[in-house]
Point group: C2
Chain length 463, copies 2
């Protein structure tokens, strides 16, 4: 690794090597996890380069390849699995300037990776369209980061996950070789680089499907108890004629303790739903809601009546729930759980019964998976020790609920604990020196790893 030579060769580009700002640009939301916070807090790159064109990306990759400098790509750094943390130092490739919306057609957009989700929606909105799904960090996250580091979000209750066929149309990717190549991926090939944390190529252009934009009505509903809320959420998702973009469920006392502006409007013990419903589906939705006596609509964004408005309802959901909880109680962390159909409602109840004392608080996001309604759990957890956290994970797994562990920084441990051969094979081809976001793909570094303990990347630069 010859940092100085690489930096010198790239000095005509926008380089930042001020240690304070480089460190800031070397961090993401890894600190959501006390486990990752303990392990990654010291991590920093040597310099940051912010290319303006694909040609500059190619140049960075060629130079860093020549000088064996690791390259970790950054969107806005809103991931919370440490996706953007440069474990081995080196170069952070910051795509902030590659933010152009290149073309918008009926049903699709062509965009550069550094475009903020919010800005992308603003452009698409001029044609009456919007992206199908986005993370709750919509206001600050990039589309490239969402694809490389995310899996779904607001909109997944209708459209499923990013990995589902049709939810990404095309990705243009630059490899890290002596002479970087530019490749275009569609279909099955998309999986080589989507949700790969930038470990095997740099996405420089994205083609995504668009959906019609509506003035979504954002809604909070309170229910007397949690089972009613989770059942209502699942049934609402099964209403094919009611168009919706968000269906979130929060067990008490999440709203009461962590949602400051909502808290005055819910009773102790009440569960909360956060919803986004198309305006022309509101009549159908209210009819549906009236079939659930006891459920109270307490807020709707199209007729606000709270002295202090709550803001965007989706900024209570997905990983903003954890963020809001952390702000109130730094000892809170979370887990990502898959409650698969068709027993998703019952599975959540079984987990609730296993943690009767409030150590695990249920936060569910409704998704579609293979045509079925299911729950993604982003459960809040009152953290005590790593050992106990691991035990909680094990209890979930033993009860048939898969965990995507957000206290791990590798693709495998944060995923299904198995090698994705498509990603690994493409890394062999596109990053032969293993310089792209090193330490994030166990299969590359340590093929025999048995997941018996937390993976510790040997190449991590010391404190």
């Amino acid at each position: 690794m010859n940092i100085d030579a690489a930096r010198e060769a790239l000095k005509h580009l926008e380089i930042d090597d001020n240690p304070v700002s480089v460190r800031a640009k070397s961090r993401d939301f890894f600190w959501y996890s006390p486990v990752l916070k303990a392990r990654l807090d010291h991590v920093t790159a040597d310099f940051v380069v912010a290319p303006r064109t694909e040609a500059e990306v190619i140049e960075v990759l060629r130079v860093c390849h020549a000088h064996e400098v690791p390259v970790t790509t950054r969107g806005s750094g809103t991931g919370n699995y440490g996706q953007a943390m440069p474990l081995a130092g080196g170069c952070v490739l910051h795509l902030v300037h590659m933010n152009a919306v290149k073309a918008i057609h009926p049903g699709r957009v062509i965009v550069e990776p550094g475009c903020l989700l919010k800005d992308l929606d603003a452009e698409a909105g001029k044609t009456g369209q919007e992206i199908r799904m986005f993370s709750s960090t919509w206001a600050t996250a990039t589309i490239g980061g969402f694809i490389a580091g995310g899996s779904g979000g607001v909109g997944s209750c209708t459209w499923g996950a990013l990995r589902d066929l049709g939810n990404i149309i095309r990705l243009r990717v630059v490899t890290m070789e002596a002479e970087p190549r530019v490749l275009e991926f569609t279909g099955e090939e998309l999986h080589r680089v989507s949700h790969a944390y930038g470990t095997n190529g740099i996405i420089t252009e994205i083609e995504m499907p668009l959906a019609p934009a509506y003035d979504w009505v954002e809604i909070f509903v309170a229910t007397p108890d949690f089972p009613m809320a989770s059942r209502l959420a699942s049934d609402l998702a099964d209403q094919d004629g009611i168009l919706k973009k968000l269906v979130s469920v929060y067990e008490a006392p999440i709203a009461q303790q962590f949602f400051q502006r909502v808290a005055p409007h819910v009773q102790p013990g009440e569960a909360l739903l956060g919803l986004m419903i198309a305006p022309h589906a509101m009549d159908g939705f209210l009819t549906f809601l009236a079939r659930h006596p006891g459920a109270r609509l307490i807020w709707r964004s199209d007729s606000p009546d709270w002295p202090r408005e709550p803001g965007r309802v989706f900024e209570y959901g997905w990983n903003h729930t954890t963020l809001r909880a952390l702000k109130v109680d730094p000892a809170v962390t979370y887990l990502q759980v898959r409650y698969a159909a068709p027993d998703h409602v019952a599975k959540v109840e079984a987990i609730r019964a296993a943690f009767p004392d409030g150590e695990v608080m249920q936060h569910l996001e409704v998704m579609k998976e293979g045509g079925r309604t299911m729950f993604a759990g982003l459960s809040l957890v009152r953290f005590t020790t790593e050992a106990r956290l691991d035990e909680i994970v094990r209890i979930h797994e033993d009860m048939g609920c898969m965990i995507f562990n957000p206290h791990r920084y590798t693709l495998e441990e944060g995923g299904r604990q198995s090698v994705d051969d498509r990603q690994l094979d493409f890394k062999r081809e596109a990053d032969p020196k293993g310089l792209l976001n090193p330490g994030k793909m166990i299969a590359w570094d340590e093929p025999g790893f048995d997941y018996g303990c937390v993976y510790a990347y040997r190449g991590m630069r010391g404190q």
Copy 2:
């Protein structure tokens, strides 16, 4: 019934009492069914009135109420359950002139009932929108007839059925009383008059949801056998990220025998799928299709390569399948079958095994029902006798497959063989003399009917 007095009182309106054209306007597609053909072929009204405004509708209903003249409402007469047949004679209320598209907003349209589905889509298309679902008679049927006499269609593979919450927003209805009232129905009240054949009120204005309009790619796919086709269809419907408007499945020899322009492109024994896929979902769809070795894409409307183009693919589906078969073989008729989730694929196979000799040919339309993919069967049947047809119905029912019998002209027999109390209660209120489309609601005429035989309306005017 004082026909002459009513006609005289309405003579300032557009009246038709030429027996030839009145008979033509007294007929729908009842002749799809040999059973209905035998019973209803002689049916005709005494006169037809074609109002231009809601005020004229009110006048017709007031006058006919006063003179006890039955009123049967007509859109375009494309129903095939005899919905528009004036069994007791009297007046046909022809809504042909009430066809205005009154307003189009994002996600919804306000329209008069006599507007053709095709014309409605043309207007909505100016704002980049279209109706969520339509019958295969899109080119000739009206929106009012679709709502009053239909249940779903092209688009139901995504949006479910018309009865599902959100698929109709508002209906404006005129009652048939001494002084007709005008009522506005939303929510639960919609079910009073939707799919009620105009037996308890006349719809004069409709508010419907709209979806984004796309240049749908219309597709035929051939598969080596039928189980592969039905499985592929169901799996495609479960692909949440692939936006589609039509998924039809045809068992051999339907395409070979009845689809003239498709026949040269399928092999003996091959099953056929008819599809409409959003253009921006084509890459996802082709990726999906490639996962099914043996399935062959034989036609796509965006790159036509047949010497004789097949026309609109949806005009092979839903009830156009039966129409095409009837044109080739007048001895063919059909049944409507519900193959409910989650065993829909297996249920169809069980039915196929029960009719191994080609007496029943499977034609499936994929729908969503309660969030689940299922099949509506519009099976073609080689008709021999009414007794055998009834036996075929019984075999289906005994095997757990509900039949919506298209060889019956009553709401109950064509539906779930049970009284819809919402419709009946509203008829008591809105049509106290029982003059609206008489003979179509058993619960009104003969509350004790036990469904032991075909219902025969006692008030039917003789031949």
